[in-house]
Structures are given as C-alpha cells and as structure tokens.
C-alpha cells in the first residue's frame, strides 16, 4: 500500500512515526509548565532546532544515498571562523558584508569537495574518510582562529540570519527553506530519485549508465555547503565564532535523521521524518530546562527520551517494514 503511494509521491505514513511522541511531550509540557506554550518559548525552541535542521536536511539526502559525513561539525566551525576572519581582514570593504555569506558557503563547498573526491573518486569508506576530514578541519579551525573567540561581525551580516520576518526568526526561516528544498529534491526530482537508487543498488545505477561518481561528488559538496550555511547561521546568532563551534553537531544531525526513519543502509529516506526528529530533540532539551531538571540528570533524561522515541518508532511496533 504505502509503496504504492510512494510511487505517486505521497508521504509514506510511517514518516510521521515521531508525531505522536512529539504531541505527547508537548501536551505533557503544556500541563507541567505554564511557560511552555508561550510564543517566546516557541521561538526559543525553533531557534534551538534550526541549525541542526539545516545540517540534518542535507544529511538525509546523503544517508539516503548510503553516504555519511562526520565532518559537518568541523565544517560549521570553519565557515563560522571564516566569516569572522572575512570581517577581521576588512574584506567587506571590497566585497561588501554579504560577501561573507558567499565565503562561508564556499568554505563548506571546498571541504565537501575534498570529501567527495576521497569517497567518490578514490573510493574510501565514507565513514573513515569524513572522520579524517572531521579531525583535520577542526585543526584548521584552531589554526585560523588561533584558538580565540572572534567577534566583530558587520551588523548587516548578522541581520540576515538573526533578524525577524513576520515575527519568525530568520534562522528558522533559513532552516525551514532548507528542509523544504531537501524534501522537494528527494521526492520530486531526478536527483532525488537517483540518490535513492544510489543508496539502494549502486552497481545497478552504474550498469544502467548513470554518472554515479558525479552524483556522489555532488551530494558531498551539497552537504558541505549546507554545513557552511549552518556555520554562518551559528556565527550570526552568537555574533561570535568560537574554536569549538559545531563540535559534535554531526552526531545530533545523524541522530535526528535516523530517528526520523531514514535507514543508514541507504535506499529509503524521509526529510519529513528528519524534521520531526529535529523538533523532538529540541523539544526534549527545552523541556528539561523548563522543568528545571538538575544539571547532573539532564544527559540521562535526554537519553531516556531518545530511547523512548526510537522504540516507539521501531519497525516492529509500528509494523512498518524493517530495512
């Protein structure tokens, strides 16, 4: 049944597996804390989710094509620092404040390109190749920032990401758009179809005469650019770039992608699920603080919530097909 829908582009029902969990938590929180259902808190929540979502949207496409990128966290750091340096060196004088955006995304693209070459052209396992770049790029962040927090961004640059439009934080809008585009690409376009194919049976695509390497390369560059974008969003929202900015973001991103129902074995992916996963993760973090759970218990509770979420989404319990 659901696979039939899929052929005609409808959302598969089990992409929404996390929705009940989210509603559950939301309802519980509304009862437990009066400050939960306030517009301000919703804005906080959205802000919290946005950066992770930008990365996770790209990661969904990548994982669907049976790839993975552990270097996104470091890339976030480098693009943030890159933007900071852009202003520090006064390049905005010649290229304007918005040049920093181009620069940050370009930095991301460059790292993505390196990953792409390692994985697609040389044929390294994505996991180890991007683990390597993860360490190396973090090193570059330390070097370029000389270990310091860099400030002094042009307010116009900051406005782009941290301002409001129709009362919605721009970061959230950026994230929302990213997710929308990702969903569109995955479900409606040739590229998306081929990415699914790539994750399902690379040999088949190759035999059928599809430019597999170019496709892979592209997907890593795309991931890098999105990580770059996330880095800029981060820098703007902090109006600072830190040496450790983005550490472990890759774990968060992969976590929400998988929670959402995308299989690390490739072939099947859902941006919808990823969005819900990101929301859930942010919701948990937010709830814990609103409930004032003691510092030392937080990590544990987060673990508990994730476990609960994935268990409820388990193919066995939801009856969905196991990948």
């Amino acid at each position: 049944m659901n696979s039939q829908n899929k052929a005609f582009g409808f959302i598969q029902d089990h992409h929404l597996q996390l929705l009940p969990v989210i509603l559950l938590v939301a309802v519980a929180m509304t009862i437990l804390s009066e400050s939960f259902m306030t517009s301000q808190n919703m804005i906080n929540l959205a802000n919290r989710v946005s950066i992770n979502l930008i990365i996770a949207s790209g990661m969904t496409l990548l994982i669907t094509s049976e790839g993975i990128d552990l270097s996104v966290g470091s890339t976030v750091g480098l693009s943030a620092v890159g933007a900071a340096i852009y202003f520090q060196n006064g390049w905005d004088a010649s290229f304007g404040p918005y040049g920093a955006i181009v620069f940050g995304v370009a930095v991301g693209a460059a790292i993505g390109l390196v990953n792409g070459i390692l994985v697609a052209l040389i044929g390294l396992p994505a996991f180890i190749a991007t683990l390597g770049t993860m360490l190396a790029v973090r090193g570059l962040v330390f070097i370029t920032s000389s270990g310091r927090t860099i400030m002094g961004f042009d307010p116009r640059f900051i406005e782009v990401f941290s301002g409001f439009t129709f009362g919605i934080p721009r970061a959230v809008i950026v994230a929302g758009l990213t997710a929308l585009v990702a969903a569109y690409v995955l479900n409606k376009t040739t590229t998306g179809r081929l990415l699914q194919g790539l994750g399902g049976n690379e040999r088949c695509l190759y035999t059928a005469g599809i430019r597999v390497k170019r496709l892979k390369l592209g997907s890593y560059v795309m991931m890098g650019m999105l990580a770059g974008l996330a880095g800029l969003t981060l820098a703007a929202s902090m109006s600072a770039a830190e040496p450790f900015a983005g550490s472990w973001y890759e774990l968060d991103a992969i976590a929400v992608v998988v929670m959402g129902g995308t299989a690390l074995t490739g072939g099947r992916g859902t941006v919808m699920g990823t969005v819900l996963g990101a929301i859930l993760l942010g919701l948990v973090a937010n709830s814990i603080i609103l409930l004032g759970i003691s510092a030392y218990y937080q990590t544990f509770v987060v673990g508990l919530m994730i476990l609960a979420a994935i268990v409820m989404g388990s193919p066995v319990l939801t009856g969905a097909r196991a990948n």
Binding site: P125, F127, L131, L135, A136, G139, A295, G303, S314
Partner: protein
C-alpha cells in the same frame, strides 16, 4: 540430523587429536600469511610513519617511546577488538566511551564504599556486559538501527555516570585493583584479548556465523544460525572489552573520571578497525588489520607529540594520516567499499 545426511560421511571417525593438531597449526600459518597479504598496505603506511618521525625527531627511536606506543595501541586495541566483531555483524557501537566511564565509576565507587576489589570489578564487568546485551537486544528484537540505539545508550550511560559521581572523580583506589590493570597489564589485556578473539573467530563456528550475520542475516536465519542470540553476545562482548579498557584507564589515573572516554577513546576504537580494512557493511573480521590500525594511530600521536608539532597542526596531520593510510590500503589491495 547427521543421520539424514546422504553424502560425505566418509572418514568422520579419523577426526582426532592426531589429525587436528597439524591442521590447527597449518591453518594458523595460512591465516597469518593471509593477514600479511591483506594488510601490507597498512604495514607500508606504518613503516613510512616510523621513517618520517625518526627523521623528524632524535628522540623518537627510543625504547621508552616504543613502550608508550605499544601501551597506547594496546589500550585502543582492547575496545577495537570488540568493535571489529560488532562491525563484522554490520553494526556499530558508539556507546563504548560512556560504558567505559560508567562501569569504571560504578566499580570505583563500590570499592570506595568498602566492597572488596574482586566483586566490585566483577560488578563493573557485569554492568558492561549488561549494557552491551541491552544494545544487542533492542537492535535485534526491535529492529532498531545500531547507530541510533547505541547513541541513546551513550546518553543514558553518560548521564548515569554524572548522577553517580556528582561530577567529581572517585579516587585513591585499592592497590590490588590499580596494579592489576596498570602498565604492562594494558598490553597483556590488549594482545591477550586480540589473540583469544582471533582464535575464536578462526577456530570456532562463532567466527563464521558472526561474519555471516554481517554478510547476509537472512541466510543465516534460514540456515538455523541463532542470529539474535549471537548479535546480543557480540555487543555484550564489546561491552566487556569497553569495561576492561575503562579499568586500565582508571588504574593509570588511579581514579575513575566522570569525563573519561568522552571523545578520542571511542573515536579511535571505531577508526582503528576501519583503517584496518573492516567494512561498515559487515561480513569481514580482519583482526590483524585492526591491530595495524591501532599501531598506526598510536605511532602517529606519539610521533607528532615528540616532533613537537603544535596541537592544532597535529589535528590536521592526524586527519591527513588516517585518510592517507586508508587510501594506501584501498589502492594496494582492498576492493572498493561503499
């Protein structure tokens, strides 16, 4: 059901010690030969590293350094051995760092509460095995993806550690405990564990079946392999290895640190097997490769430290070397792995 077998019953009786012993020895030789053939790219990489570093620093070629490298490699090896099996089943376990911290903290706390060393240590090991078994169970029975299942466990164990410790380390542990896991004991545990595992993987059905699960779970199931039990076993084993690693760390610190095993420890334990030519897809268990992976990582770190390379540049170098080593390996012999 052997009676139902139709063909090839010939010469079953003759299978005794006399025929087995040479067989065992011979196959051991064949194995080590194959291991060398499979991983000469890595051996080459290691040799290159040693060459470079010995040029870079006069202090590098030095028994003390060699000892350090072997110890550090052994430490990673303890966890990497378990990870190799997990990866062979097509899984992954990101919770080992947290498991390491939690069980060490529990054992240490028990000791400080006056529990005798042996029961306390046992408790820790059991806890580790339990955590592993839990991972294995939810992965097997709820068909959860190993990555996310163990990621949840990471938070749980990490959190538990903080709750128990209240954020501060548990120190001055009984001499009996620390001395049992200190210094050369790290090497003993690391290499001992590796050899034992190699033996199991090559001389018992478990070896075949574990790789089988990674290769084609469905087939194994149909052929009557007890897939779930086996997988749970593998994760439990990984848990135990994580605890042992934790104990060596705790012993050398003479304290159980709440922040132990936070990053590098488990990242390297996951990197080593893959550097060693094991594929995330599963179906392979190249333990010798894993050993090489650990040696490469340890040599790299010590080498960079001793050559006085600044931390930031070290990070870059480490990333580069990991990629370089794997590239060399891929280009020399390994089939493309996607």
């Amino acid at each position: 059901m052997t009676d139902a077998r139709i063909i090839g019953g010939a010469g079953r009786e003759s299978s005794g010690l006399i025929t087995m012993l040479p067989a065992a020895i011979e196959s051991m030789f064949r194995l080590s030969w194959r291991a060398l053939r499979e991983s000469w790219g890595l051996i080459l990489a290691l040799a290159i590293l040693v060459l470079i570093f010995s040029q870079a620093s006069p202090y590098f070629l030095n028994t003390l350094v060699l000892e350090r490298i072997l110890t550090n490699a052994s430490f990673t090896l303890i966890m990497a051995t378990g990870m190799t099996l997990v990866i062979a089943t097509g899984g992954i376990d990101v919770s080992i760092g947290a498991t390491l911290a939690l069980s060490s903290m529990v054992a240490a706390t028990l000791m400080n509460l006056g529990t005798p060393v042996l029961p306390a240590a046992m408790a820790g090991l059991l806890l580790g095995a339990g955590i592993g078994a839990f991972n294995g169970s939810i992965i097997s029975y709820l068909k959860l993806q190993p990555f996310i299942a163990t990621l949840a466990m990471l938070s749980l164990a990490r959190g538990m550690t903080l709750i128990i410790s209240g954020g501060s380390p548990a120190f001055d542990l009984p001499e009996a405990f620390t001395s049992a896991f200190k210094d050369e004991m790290v090497m003993v545990i690391g290499l001992g564990g590796l050899l034992l595992t190699m033996l199991v993987m090559h001389r018992t059905r478990l070896g075949i079946q574990i790789r089988g699960i990674g290769g084609n779970e469905n087939t194994c199931y149909i052929c009557g392999v007890r897939v779930n039990a086996l997988r749970i076993g593998v994760y439990a084993f990984q848990g135990i290895m994580a605890v042992l690693a934790g104990y060596t760390l705790t012993a050398s610190f003479d304290a159980a640190e709440p922040t132990a095993g936070l990053s590098t420890e488990w990242l390297e334990a996951m990197a080593a097997p893959i550097i060693g030519g094991n594929t995330m897809a599963g179906g392979r268990a190249r333990l010798f490769g894993t050993l090489m992976g650990c040696l490469i990582l340890a040599t790299m770190r010590s080498g960079l430290n001793i050559s006085g390379v600044p931390t930031a540049w070290q990070q870059v170098a480490i990333g580069g070397i990991i990629v370089g080593a794997v590239t060399l390996d891929v280009l020399t012999n390994r089939k493309k792995v996607s």
